[in-house]
Symmetry: C2
Subunit: 197 residues, 2 copies
């Protein structure tokens, strides 16, 4: 059985939720936003600043992302990435777990990981998100814009910190269309594959 499962995913594909359920099925810890808290403790940055910078890269554009800011010798966003990577490596050493996002696949590239990538048709992702957020189909165009923007930021983040192409199958061991056969299908397939590791 693989020690650590990393999850990368297109926004709205349900990859995070699949990761959570997969961790539950395997009886192992699941790490996502938790990482931020642990990492903030690690480098003694106040948590709210940490979250602000993190969101700036991953979700919003309210805070300008400045990889080579003049305020810090190592830019804040890079300090955060380094701290998170340290936490990810520490978690991986502790035992089997599921880690979502944060380039964990590349941070742990020398470890025995199983790297999963989840994607789905754009329309299906938009529809899923509208339902989750109880929004009407009229909000579709706005949601589609948001999905594209967040995907682009995930792509940029991955490219910037790993030098690799986000979503290229060769970076992962299994890639799933999460909406073709449903989330349970993905979990069952991942477990069936892992049984041979």
């Amino acid at each position: 059985m693989t020690k650590v499962i990393t999850i990368s995913r297109e926004f709205g594909s349900g990859g995070r939720q699949i990761g959570y359920q997969l961790a539950e099925r395997l009886g192992i810890p699941f790490y996502d936003k938790e990482l931020i808290k642990m990492a903030s403790e690690d480098i003694e940055i106040e948590e709210h600043i940490f979250e602000m910078y993190d969101n700036a890269f991953m979700e919003k554009e309210e805070v300008e992302y400045t990889p080579f800011s003049h305020t810090y010798e190592v830019p804040m966003s890079d300090q955060i990435f380094i701290a998170q990577s340290r936490v990810i490596r520490r978690l991986a050493q502790h035992g089997p777990c599921v880690i979502v996002g944060r380039c964990a696949d590349m941070v742990l590239k020398d470890e025995q990981c199983l790297n999963l990538f989840f994607y789905a048709n754009l329309k299906k992702r938009v529809h899923r998100l509208l339902q989750l957020e109880r929004l009407s189909e009229e909000e579709g165009k706005k949601m589609e814009k948001r999905v594209r923007e967040i995907d682009q930021k995930r792509k940029d983040y991955y490219q910037y910190y790993t030098g690799n192409e986000w979503g290229k199958p060769q970076n992962y061991h299994l890639c799933f269309d999460s909406q073709k056969a449903g989330m349970e299908a993905c979990i069952d397939a991942a477990i069936a594959y892992m049984a041979h590791l």
Copy 2:
């Protein structure tokens, strides 16, 4: 259960063999080179000419590939693709089966198919091919060149006939690193996923 399974694969990944074993496990027909014969009957081109053109695109460079040749109104290679596509659609209507290559995923894009893509680390693919062809590791460089060339031709073929990017996960429902956990792992995972369709 899905009617038709299409398989795309990097050269040397073992995708064809996995497809064959998957068909056997499911008790359904498997189509690969068979298609060529069936298609040649379809358009009354002598089989050896057919194979020559087919190989020219897929394997060698001895016969120049001329999509817009002046010799034929519709170039031979395009006639062959059209005939093969017709055969693929006919097979899909007959019942469940596994079809390898020939852009079957796009030819059948309106059908209820499960589209699989197999890939693996270049070094592992070279090693596997050397073993299959009983060649020494000294032939590695030559084999690596051959693998790259054939992959490039598959990419070009797919791009030319479908307008899409070969190996982009969003074109398939499941993508597998065929060498991480072995072929059986891929077969089990595909079957586990299909059980939910």
